[in-house]
Symmetry: C2
């Protein structure tokens, strides 16, 4: 039985025979009695095993089981509500399936995150990554569950594409070993699944992607990686207000359910990683989302322009991370959807508002991260889109299939992109994207 | 309200005012009355809309709405159990949000699948792809739900890697535009997430990946694509028998739940795509999985060797697709797990059986497809693994981190890889992998 299940049903399992299989996280004691903490990955909590010489156990062997060793232990489970732990297993049989060599790097506590980044194949066996990666996994599973529940179709947007999405020129190039144009033309790793998701929303209604995306950006910030996962919902017949509501509802549902499932992980994260984390998340879940017009954000930023490195604040600028953080962290003190950005700083496909200056876009800014989500209502007027593409110098031929959606029944659509690792950072409180993904890829760095 | 919900609750919604938003799939009638079928993507079924001139509707406008046009229709919903359709919406307001241009390619029925492959951004609006892609999506969502329910962690194996997995040399190469070694070394698109999943299983217990994988194979068969999705569970402490049980349980659960959710899609697929499909699937779900030793398979194949193109059948050969299909389709007449393959035709990481000749591997062969799943118990003896790697001429340095798992507590592990598109083919009955993924990528072919 898993330790998770043993601990859950402990009251009814008192004095039953049990077998556990897991890895040692602590082993202390003397020649007569040893206390061994075992974690089997099913839950954040360890199970305490007590090995007594009087039980005819070979305590010299038990003593040899080092941190990280895999063990199979049989014994009697005791419910010990009065003790430090709620349960303990009194060992009757103790097998070391595989010990760790003496150079196992995780034998001491307090290893820095930077050092842990050098051993991504092992670091998930620390408390920090045991909590972060479990929360990450549940966030992903809850996102799928949420959209399944709402009837959304998981749209299989392609990874390898012949067009580079937003035209930012930061796409990786893909070819076979011979570099002989395997696909008969230049192929790149997609920077977004949105365009293809729009095609599927035009017929299926509500769809979403959940897939890796890639940027060959030579960026070394805490918030950028070359490989990351995106969730990109797209909803036909939705306008800007509706897609903001959909994003907010998804986030609140997914975060709520994840917190419910991981009390121990969040207790750990609150205590050792991000004090105030639980209050921050509960405050977001419990409140109506603040929506602010970009023009109003500019006015607020102008009032305190002295505090920024970027002091030249006027209608038309792209918000810097420091601006976004100020608005979320200090002005709103929580997540905020900023809407109706100037069209010249946004992508070609966004719905052009009647003012001729702005587009029906939104960015969801959150404390500690800045932009967590970017989305928009889409421009569905064929002629307006073509004009905009030409204005921006984007090659029309590559995107003709996308433009054609507007000739073939796509009347209204809206969607957003959620940077999944940024969500993991927001929810766990870890501050570096390299700690929110198992095997991070950044410029000059490709481990394992 | 979605059409799915309207139809589900039709009995209680009789004579209520409703609004639907969807796309026209048929529009026939005369100047006094028109019958318009509308699909909104929420369900395979269309809703029949009746537009009558007597309702003060502009039937000339209604007449102009072509196949594929997006429409917003308000009216009174009627429960019509005695009619051809169970429901109809008597229109009171009819808005064409966006019509289709006259060159919309899906106006006639019976377009060949080959022609449809040229318009992957539109073909999901045919019945065939509406059914296939909805089933595909539900299969994916049910896989996540199944593993979430079992407590498995979604392991974020990387896509871009520095090692090419099974050493088959069929990996795509990735770099930035300048081809300047963005990562400081050669980078490839992973052909498997297994090695990294093993690292995560060694600590988390049960994990799985669900991610795109890539092969730069110059293969033009119906079963191969350059980009496809894989599900790769990995379970610590599991042996061969246990991992076969886990694979079988997953398949049966996921297929059962998908069938339950898509009665209409399976009725369509049975009728128009793959007669016998439902019986085939029910037969698999209802029976105990057959397990056959590779050596016994060879004996059976030898008895009928004349019927194969590959007639030279002896212990040691890699099974050809024709062999696999014979065993599944004619000998077993259903899915079969073939176990204990000769070690020389299998990957280096598989557990070496005591006979010195075979490994604890299995392939799950299914009728119509051949190999659906490949898996194995992993060799966890460090020295045996190193010897095998050297025998096979694989570079040890690249894999040292993987070998080190065996020095750091990995005592036993087993896992498998499910080709997700092959599962879609098996469950929907479509025979070409290009019809099981939205935007297929094959040699020389990169559309959109």
């Amino acid at each position: 039985m898993t330790i998770k299940k043993l601990l859950k049903d402990i009251a009814s399992l008192h004095e039953t025979k049990q077998e556990i299989k897991g890895w040692i996280t602590a082993n202390r004691g003397n020649k007569k009695i040893r206390f061994i903490a075992v974690n089997d990955g099913s839950t954040f909590a360890n199970l305490q095993v007590v090995a007594k010489a009087e039980m005819e156990l070979d305590l010299e062997l038990v003593d040899k089981a080092r941190m990280g060793a895999s063990v199979i232990i049989k014994g009697t489970l005791l419910h010990t509500p009065e003790g430090k732990q709620v349960a303990e297993l009194v060992a009757e049989n103790f097998e070391i399936l595989k010990n760790t060599d003496e150079d196992f790097p995780l034998q001491k506590n307090g290893i820095s995150r930077e050092v842990l980044r050098e051993i991504p194949h092992l670091r998930h066996r620390t408390n920090l990554f045991r909590a972060t990666m479990r929360v990450r996994s549940t966030l992903a599973q809850e996102i799928h569950a949420h959209f399944a529940d709402k009837g959304y179709l998981l749209a299989p947007s392609p990874i390898i594409t012949g067009n580079d999405g937003e035209g930012a020129g930061e796409a990786f190039v893909v070819d076979d070993e011979s570099k002989d144009l395997f696909f008969g033309k230049k192929a790149t790793l997609g920077v977004t699944g949105q365009l293809h998701a729009e095609a599927y929303a035009n017929g299926f209604g509500g769809v979403y992607t959940f897939a890796p995306t890639f940027r060959a950006e030579n960026s070394h910030t805490q918030r950028h990686a070359a490989e990351f996962w995106m969730v990109e919902p797209e909803v036909a017949f939705a306008d800007l207000q509706e897609i903001i509501r959909i994003a907010d509802e998804m986030l609140k549902t997914v975060i709520t359910k994840t917190i419910e499932k991981h009390e121990e992980e969040f207790t750990f994260l609150e205590k050792f990683v991000a004090p105030g984390l639980n209050e921050k998340l509960q405050s977001y879940i419990g409140q109506k989302l603040t929506v602010m017009d970009y023009a109003d954000v500019i006015k607020e930023l102008q009032k305190v322009s002295d505090r920024f490195d970027e002091k030249d604040i006027h209608f038309g600028i792209d918000l810097a991370t420091e601006h976004e953080k100020y608005i979320a962290e200090e002005f709103v003190k929580g997540p905020v959807a900023v809407t109706n950005y100037p069209k010249d700083i946004k992508a070609f496909y966004m719905f052009q508002n009647e003012d001729g200056k702005t587009v029906a876009a939104f960015d969801l800014l959150v404390p500690g991260i800045g932009e967590l989500i970017g989305g928009s209502q889409r421009e569905c007027d064929y002629d307006k889109l073509v004009t905009r593409i030409n204005e921006m110098g984007i090659d029309q031929e590559d995107l003709q299939w996308y433009l054609d959606l507007r000739r073939f029944g796509q009347g209204m659509s809206a969607g957003f992109g959620l940077g999944f690792e940024r969500l993991v950072m927001y929810v766990t409180g870890v501050e570096n994207i390299r700690d929110a993904i198992a095997f991070p890829r950044t410029p000059g760095k490709l481990m394992m």
